[in-house]
């Protein structure tokens, strides 16, 4: 069978599985729709969180980015895993104990303020929308690369699939499909990784082959010979300060992303939330410790098979031909010596390699059968669909729960709340699909936003809300606003208006760290200059810190009673 036939078969089978799970998990009440009845076992929630977290970018692009950045690519590896330590120690168990539905729920109740709730809602929707547009585009791209379907058609197929299980099953449907999607994506990632590791080093375990074979050492030598910085040399592309700030912004941003936090509302108890975070990071780590090995092996292999080879020889390579046709690999023998040279200088470089090639071409380079190549496509789709569905639920619950139920119509019946939830999921899918078909040119650039804003807004508000009982409404609102405004202006200025990165040369990706520190300082100071929170709130914080599963008795304090 051809690669296309295998791909079609695998993609269809996986879609049938997702639809079946979605149908089995359909729900009727709001507890089921927004937090999966709080009945997801810790290990299953771990797998769902891992699938939710690892997007099309993690699956397809990350190894490629690392292979071009070398040491400096570590910002992604550490940044997108280290945040789980913060999440497990500082946020997840307490938010589970708090026992509501969303992140704005916590912010609004803890700071006894609908203004704080609204700031959180706006930030949650903005962060999730920027993120989801890229995912839908990813679905379309996988379809077009592997099945020669137009990108637009691919996006629409993805919308229909996600729509089915998200509308019917809400959080419950999403959770159990994500568990299945994790299985698909990790198998799809590991098979080619094991194959290329065995092919180049004879050691089938990529994590071990990375440190104990001589590939990385040889790669260092080859890179230096070609005029590049050595692969393992730190700070070749970014300064130490910038690397530090980006890594922190990604870690803190990860811990503050609403679609990750809400996953911990679905487990039965705070104890399960702690273990669940451990399982989640373990499942993520399986892919994230494989990625640097794939990155180094693929880079070495690409240089060895392409650099300084005669034109005729390169034309004999099936995979080089195939990827040249897609435009992801480009050759041009500019100096007409009959060979292609890879150099760091754009004027003399004759081989242009797109970062996505690294993962996509690995199975062919390692001479795997067509079914293994098809599996990579299915895995990429699983990664994109699982992340998209988690984000869509956050957007839906922000509107249906935080805005409609908490702010507009607190008397709404159960069935009405679920109905609004379903309609909002559908609405969010249409918007995400629209951005998937017509991607705004700035999508790739605004991803920095998602992490920067999550770091500068939610993280300090939640951490102080739990660990500092004195933090009050005035402090939290001014802190979030200062963090958001500073980070937004800096990112927009640097990315779109050519502003100098005036803060010690920190790039837009890393400025969220500064926004977070500002937020902490402003919240702390303003809280101490204004009246302390009411007794009921102090009692609630006290209860959050106690063991046991009972959610703290909540007193709804109206704003008018306070003033």
């Amino acid at each position: 069978m051809s690669v296309e036939a295998w791909t079609t078969l695998f993609v269809l089978l996986s879609f049938i599985l997702y639809l079946y799970i979605g149908w089995r998990s359909r729900v009727r009440d709001s507890q089921g729709f927004f937090v999966a009845d709080r009945g997801v076992p810790a290990i299953a929630n771990g797998a769902a969180t891992a699938a939710d977290w690892m997007s099309a970018a993690s699956f397809i692009s990350m190894a490629g980015l690392i292979s071009f950045l070398g040491y400096d690519g570590s910002i992604y590896l550490m940044g997108w895993t280290g945040g789980y330590v913060l999440l497990a120690l500082l946020l997840a168990p307490y938010l589970r104990k708090f026992g509501k539905y969303t992140v704005p729920d916590f912010v609004g109740d803890r700071y006894y303020s609908n203004v704080a709730r609204l700031v959180a809602v706006v930030a949650a929707i903005f962060v999730s929308l920027t993120y989801v547009a890229g995912q839908m585009r990813g679905v379309g791209i996988v379809f077009s690369r592997f099945l020669q379907v137009p990108v637009e058609t691919g996006v629409i197929i993805g919308m229909v699939i996600v729509g089915f299980f998200a509308v019917l099953g809400g959080m419950k449907g999403i959770t159990w499909t994500q568990v299945a999607q994790y299985g698909v994506l990790i198998v799809a990632y590991l098979i080619p990784a094991v194959a290329i590791s065995t092919f180049l080093t004879g050691n089938p375990i990529p994590q071990l082959a990375f440190g104990f074979s001589d590939i990385v050492d040889k790669l260092d030598g080859v890179q230096v010979d070609l005029g590049f910085a050595a692969y393992t040399q730190p700070f070749a592309n970014k300064s130490m300060l910038d690397v530090l700030f980006i890594a922190i912004a990604l870690m803190v941003g990860t811990a503050g992303l609403p679609h990750v936090i809400v996953r911990f509302y679905t487990v039965p108890s705070p104890r399960d939330a702690r273990f669940s975070a451990g399982w989640a990071l373990l499942f993520i780590a399986i892919l994230y410790t494989t990625a640097p090995a794939v990155a180094a092996f693929a880079r070495y292999n690409l240089i060895e098979s392409l650099h300084d080879r005669p034109v005729a020889e390169v034309q004999q390579l099936d995979w080089a031909q195939k990827w040249e046709n897609t435009g992801l690999l480009e050759f041009k023998d500019t100096n007409n010596d009959g060979r292609y040279q890879l150099t760091p200088d754009e004027a003399t470089n004759e081989i242009v390699i797109n970062a996505d090639i690294v993962v996509l071409s690995t199975p062919e380079v390692a001479k795997l059968a067509p079914w293994a190549i098809a599996l990579v496509a299915t895995g990429g789709l699983a990664a994109a669909l699982s992340t998209a569905s988690g984000l869509l639920l956050v957007i839906s619950s922000s509107v249906a729960h935080d805005v409609y139920y908490r702010l507009i119509n607190p008397q709404a019946s159960e069935s009405k709340r679920v109905m609004v939830g379903r309609v909002m999921v559908g609405f969010a899918i249409v918007i995400a699909g629209y951005f998937g078909v017509n991607p705004p040119g700035f999508v790739a650039q605004v991803v920095a936003f998602a992490f920067g804003l999550a770091a500068a807004s939610f993280f300090p508000a939640i951490v102080l809300g739990i660990f500092d009982a004195r933090t009050n409404r005035e402090g939290a609102i001014s802190g979030m606003l200062v963090g958001l405004v500073f980070t937004t202006i800096y990112i927009i200025g640097v990315k779109f208006y050519g502003m100098e990165p005036w803060f010690s040369g920190i790039s837009a990706e890393g400025i969220g760290t500064v926004g977070m520190v500002l937020n902490f300082i402003v919240t702390w100071v303003v809280s101490r200059l204004t009246p302390p929170p009411p007794e009921a709130i102090r009692q609630m914080v006290e209860n959050l810190r106690l063991p046991g599963d009972a959610p703290p008795a909540l007193v709804d304090v109206g704003e008018e009673e306070l003033d």
Partner: protein, 83 residues
């Protein structure tokens, strides 16, 4: 101990555990993998520089272990509290 003291002791044990684990967390990620990466690269781990290995693999393994230490540590603190 009365209830209030018990609560206080529980919270203190919890925050002490969190503080210690976060110190390790910062030590491996910010310390070994970024600020000290140059000197640590002089040492080899297997066949690659140690600082580079920490940044790309070692730190991730340690992150996973830290979360499980916390979850298990809290089990113990929870048990002591109940007795």
């Amino acid at each position: 101990m009365n209830d209030r003291q018990r609560h206080h002791a529980y919270w203190k044990a919890n925050t002490a555990l969190i503080r210690n684990l976060l110190l390790v967390w910062a030590g491996v990620s910010i310390g070994c993998s970024i600020l000290l990466v140059r000197p640590l690269n002089a040492i080899s781990f297997g066949k690659i520089p140690f600082g580079f290995w920490m940044a790309q693999q070692g730190s991730i393994f340690i992150f996973v272990i830290l979360i499980f230490i916390y979850a298990l540590g809290m089990e113990k603190i929870d048990r002591n509290y109940k007795e």
